[in-house]
């Protein structure tokens, strides 16, 4: 991009033309965005390239052997512990994203259609919990779901159960509940934005043409808000697959996810190439799973019409 721009300057040596180009919208836009772009290039794109490179190398004690190998990927994909972790991580992130989107959609719809003049206040209330004390929020779920925790003591005092239920905490359900809570706002916001963009007269037209409220919702509102639903899925599913804190705090043995294994390769295990291969595999698998979900979603919505 920038290189092409410089080529163009080189082609036109006349100072007047060069001045015209530097004054042009294109040049100013590029100049303006370049600090941020270069920063992201250096601290995001380049590091990811390094990770990909490492995933094809081998660790020899303290040295790195830079001959190309697929050994790390073989290990990542065939060793049962990693395979189980991948499957569980994907399953949890899929469940979390589906549950989050399904439960958040009515809230987004409520704010968009019934928020009145206080839409911004509602959105603010939705986002506040997401930006405050991440660790302690997870910790709080441990307190809620624990053996002597809020949920158990509450249920006992209401007389619904006799003795505490042990199975609330330290399993994948606890992980799912906690993650759904953490990512609620990230699902609500994109859905809300796409609902806001829908011209209300479309829905009135559907009603005018004989649709019930519910049919109008499924045939007009839902398909038109699909872009928001898709980004909500992506913005929840992809990051949650690599969540580290939640499985560690509330997951117990049955709730361990792939991030723990990745972290181990950079800590005591000290096998960077394997850690890199696990990271890359995670990204590829979650991208494929997300793509499949999005395609399935589009297909379903198309069938509704």
């Amino acid at each position: 991009m920038t290189a092409a721009a410089f080529d163009r300057i080189a082609d036109t040596p006349s100072p007047a033309k060069r001045r015209a180009w530097t004054r042009s919208e294109e040049a100013r836009g590029l100049a303006m965005i370049s600090p941020t772009f270069l920063y992201a290039l250096a601290l995001l794109f380049l590091p990811v390239l390094i990770v990909i490179a490492y995933s094809f190398w081998t660790q020899n004690y303290l040295d790195i052997d830079r001959t190309f190998t697929l050994e790390n990927y073989r290990q990542a994909l065939t060793e049962p512990i990693y395979r189980d972790l991948f499957i569980r991580s994907l399953w949890i992130s899929l469940t979390v994203s589906v549950v989050t989107v399904v439960f958040s959609y009515p809230i987004a719809w409520f704010i968009s259609f019934h928020g009145g003049v206080h839409k911004n206040l509602w959105l603010f209330l939705v986002t506040v919990p997401c930006w405050t004390s991440y660790l302690l929020r997870v910790m709080s779920w441990k307190v809620i779901l624990g053996y002597g925790g809020v949920m158990n003591t509450g249920l006992i005092s209401m007389g619904l159960i006799d003795k505490p239920v042990a199975s609330l905490l330290y399993n994948s359900n606890a992980v799912v509940i906690t993650l759904v809570h953490s990512w609620a706002a990230f699902a609500i916001l994109p859905i809300y934005v796409s609902l806001q963009k829908i011209d209300r007269t479309y829905i009135e037209a559907a009603r005018d043409l004989g649709d019930s409220r519910l049919r109008a919702f499924f045939r007009v509102t839902l398909p038109l808000s699909l872009p928001g639903v898709v980004s909500a899925f992506l913005i929840v599913m992809i990051p949650t697959v690599g969540d580290y804190v939640t499985p560690r705090l509330v997951g117990g043995k049955d709730g361990v996810m792939i991030a723990t294994a990745i972290q181990a390769q950079f800590g005591k295990g000290a096998n960077w190439p394997l850690g890199a291969a696990l990271s890359v595999t995670t990204m590829i698998l979650v991208s494929l799973a997300a793509a499949a979900v999005v395609l399935a979603l589009k297909f379903i919505v198309r069938r509704i019409k």
Binding site: L30, M32, L43, P106, F124, Y134, L136, P239, G242, A259
Partner: protein, 274 residues
């Protein structure tokens, strides 16, 4: 049967659902202050009475104080850096049209769509590969990557109402480019900028994974808290600390929101859109 279904119809399902959802959203957060004032080392009901001793114990905790200072340094640096970078990107996107715009914006916004641990791991690898010592500086650099997308979304919404005719009017009245930036652009978008500073500071204050991987020997508050969570006895103290951070975060976010809305209102109402 028909009586039951009729009764069910009269329950305002949507408000009930919204109420339950917000309870779910706020319950874990509201529990923190409750237990931080509870006179017991365990976090169970019924409550054992009111105390402020957990807060008092924080004051004498020098390790925690140091972590708090680190968090403050990191938070301010990240807020300034990511807001400056966010201003460049937000202005480029709202003001100019150029080829490669989508690609550039996509890369800048990418951290929103990546597992944080992968961002953390890749940064760790490049930092160690280059041979830079892990320190607060590496935390700042890493968290800035993560915070720029948030800064950008706050700033873009602030800049979008900013019509370029305002700047043109300034040039037209004889002002230079720098003067225009100082006298028109900056004052008009100032609330959005302050809002971005507050939001990114809050995120940095709360961010754990990147700090955990990149902080070396100087912990930030979340890294400190992580270390304390292993000890059940330390939990009430941590909850007290968490409550303070919670209140600080909510105050900053509220202020940020008020400023953002004021900016939006001002730019929107000031222009006559034909």
């Amino acid at each position: 049967m028909s009586v039951l279904t009729q009764r069910l119809r009269f329950i305002p399902w949507l408000p009930v659902y919204v109420a339950v959802y917000f309870l779910f959203l706020y319950l874990p957060i509201l529990l923190l202050p409750v237990f931080s004032f509870n006179n017991a080392a365990t976090t169970t009901f019924p409550l054992a009475g009111f105390t402020t001793k957990w807060y008092a114990s924080l004051a004498g905790n020098s390790v925690m104080m140091e972590a708090a200072w680190n968090s403050l340094v990191v938070g301010i640096s990240v807020a300034v850096l990511s807001t400056v970078l966010g201003i460049c990107a937000a202005r480029a996107i709202t003001r100019y049209r150029f080829r490669g715009q989508r690609t550039a914006a996509g890369l800048i916004m990418a951290p929103l769509f990546l597992p944080e641990i992968i961002v953390a791991v890749s940064l760790l690898m490049i930092v160690l590969a280059i041979g830079i010592e892990l320190s607060l500086v590496t935390v700042i650099l890493g968290q800035t990557v993560f915070c720029v997308p948030y800064a950008m979304s706050v700033l873009v919404s602030g800049f979008e109402g900013f019509d370029r005719s305002l700047e043109e009017a300034s040039y037209d009245l004889g002002e230079t480019a720098i003067g225009t930036f100082r006298r028109v652009t900056l004052p008009v978008v100032a609330p959005a900028i302050v809002s971005s500073l507050l939001v990114t500071f809050t995120i940095s204050l709360d961010e754990f994974i990147l700090a955990f991987f990149l902080s070396g020997t100087a912990p930030t508050l979340p890294v400190y808290i992580w270390g304390q969570l292993r000890f059940a006895a330390k939990l009430p103290g941590v909850l007290a600390l968490g409550t303070i951070m919670l209140v600080a975060s909510i105050l900053m976010l509220t202020l940020a929101e008020i400023l953002r809305r004021r900016a939006e209102k001002r730019t929107q109402l000031a222009l006559m859109l034909p």
